[in-house]
Amino acid sequence: MTETRTEDTVLDVKNLQTVFFTNSGLFRAVDDVSFSVRRGETLAIVGESGCGKSVTALSVMRLVPDPPGRVVGGSVTLEGTDLLGLDEAEMRNIRGNRISMIFQEPMTSLNPVMRIGDQITEVLRLHREMTSKETWAKAVEMLRLVRIPEPERRAQEYPHQLSGGMRQRAMIAMALACRPALLIADEPTTALDVTIQAQILALIVDLQKTLGTGLILITHDLGVVAQTAQRVIVMYAGKKVEEATVEDLFENPRHPYTRGLMASMPAVISFGAKTDARLTEIPGMVPSLTNLPPGCAFAPRCSLAVDRCRAEYPPLQETGGDHFAACWRATEMVAAP
């Protein structure tokens, strides 16, 4: 979104650039990405592995490992404060307090030798002036909020005593303990079974509604996006290639990559589908970020690519009604079926 910030805007990211310096060279993991998140809104960032979606989240959190990575350009504004201008101490005060993050792997994200309750009270003690009795009571309240049965007993337990789903609930309780303005969830359900995934997604969406938190949901699963998000960003090779409201994106995808992604998903339940119908596939593979083609990074895999696509990178353009796409042929897509 390019319009000016409104009162409601929690996070505003402009022209974010993050680079990595590795043995095989320097690459732009996030290249000129802008977006904003409003209070109570869910923004989904979709893309395949290596597209830069996770690095975008880490850049916002200022957690990009340095070396080898570094944010080299742009601005990240949270509730009016430019996060890139803060020193490390000020940033620590923001993390876990105003922005929280939950990760894919709930086992490694929790400290195995600390009780669940203590891990939540630790966050509270860092950011709130409360007595230890108050923080423990609050921790139990948070566990109840994320619908962990018998929260008083569970608070006394260690991570290994909890199942995967329970651990992810505990992570959410920890992340929301300080009532952050923004929650970043990086593939929060990818490691979970499908029945547990449904529970966790329902919980996240529910809590976000009640608490009014802005949510950035990073995922590779278009099904998860459709069920949870209001706005969607599609990323490819470090760049934002499409942005739209969720209804608009699914109804009228403008970028050939988005279209390809949707077509290549096996239809969720192909009830009457022919037994062995082939899927529509995107040919080729995701390009290496250290060796990107000169023009549009998707051009080598795109059936619609013309000479211009291979020579010049298409700018992100509004293709009507708050829908942006970076494709030379995006406007033709509107008419296409």
């Binding site: 096996p266 192909s270 037994t275």
Partner: protein, 330 residues
């Protein structure tokens, strides 16, 4: 295609692991990884095996290939029971069945060239050597959509999808009649997943072999399978023709699984989880029907007696007491 004699027939397969603890490594419990599973796969057929983590689907796959020794039960391949065969007796049968694993990074020896990896089974079974082997490998490469000049490359020079193609070529090299696919596309990106699924479908059309296709992703299983079996805690709870299973799921667990898959259509928002709680531990599985702890229809009987897998329609078997009252105890 199922009316012929089945290619693979698994009867009452059981695999229990001992859990040992303490200094004396005494047996402190038993993991009921697979607890009495029976199914068959016809010639040219794909049987999908779905279930959540820990349901025992991978153990079934490995037992079929005798990569793990089943505790009891029979595995018949082309009518021969292969359980209890010695290593030497097993060798000729190994040509008939091959496996494709989930992790394309760990399934290839990083120190061997792609060509050597694919050619190795030919050498081991003395089918082709030297030039003949090279030619055969080149043929296999072409079949899975790789170029012959890529034979001299090492696994790290390939992308995830290409590595899975190499695994498939290796599995094809011995001309098997059954390929066990253990989550073959779970580690791949969506756009690459479709390529590999299409390849598997194309190869089956051409070669008419059978797949035992194991996955946790219902959409993928639904796409590639002819019949689908749903596993929960070491047992098959429902098995049916694909279209029948998805149109008319009988077991509450199958219903819950189907309802839990997020649909890629924002208009179909329905994030109401069908089941609460987590999968119980296979070390001490619940009494009676293992699903009763999470089932919204659970009755007293479900806690006490374990329902058997019984016919609930043509080729449709369910293990549930709700099954129109036709449920039967074991």
């Amino acid at each position: 295609m199922t009316d012929q004699r089945p290619l693979l027939e698994v009867t009452d397969l059981v695999k229990h692991y001992a859990v040992r603890g303490g200094i004396l490594r005494r047996r402190v419990g038993t993991v009921h990884a697979v607890d009495g599973v029976s199914f068959s796969v016809g010639k040219g057929e794909t049987l999908g095996l779905v279930g959540e983590s820990g349901c025992g689907k991978s153990t079934v796959a490995r037992s079929v290939l005798r990569l793990v020794e089943p505790s009891s039960g029979a595995i018949k391949l082309n009518g021969t029971d292969i359980t209890g065969l010695s290593k030497a007796e097993m060798r000729p049968h190994r040509r008939s069945m091959q496996i494709v694993f989930q992790d394309p990074f760990a399934s290839l020896n990083p120190r061997m060239t792609a060509g050597d990896i694919v050619g190795e089974p030919l050498g081991v079974h003395g089918l082709a050597k030297g030039r003949a082997q090279q030619e055969r490998v080149a043929e296999l490469f072409a079949q899975v959509g790789l170029r012959a000049d890529q034979m001299k490359n090492y696994p790290h020079q390939f992308s995830g999808g290409q590595r899975q193609r190499i695994c498939i070529a290796r599995a094809l090299s011995l001309g098997p009649s059954l390929i066990v696919c253990d989550e073959p596309v779970s580690a791949l990106d969506v756009s690459i997943q479709a390529q590999v699924i299409n390849l598997l479908i194309d190869l089956q059309r051409k070669n008419d072999f059978s797949y035992l296709f194991i996955a946790h992703d219902l959409a993928v299983v639904a796409h590639i399978s002819h019949r689908v079996a749903v596993m929960y805690l070491g047992r098959i709870v429902e098995i049916a023709e694909k279209s029948e299973l998805f149109a008319n799921p009988r077991h509450p667990y199958t219903q819950a699984l189907l309802a839990s898959v997020p649909i890629a259509d924002p208009k179909a928002k329905r994030l109401a989880p069908m089941v609460d709680g987590d999968v119980p531990s296979p070390i001490n599985p619940p009494s009676g029907c293992a699903f009763h702890t999470r089932c919204r229809y659970a009755m007293d009987r479900c806690k006490l007696e374990r329902p058997a897998l019984v016919e609930a329609g043509e080729g449709h078997q369910v293990a549930c007491w709700l099954n129109d009252g036709t449920g039967r105890a074991e």
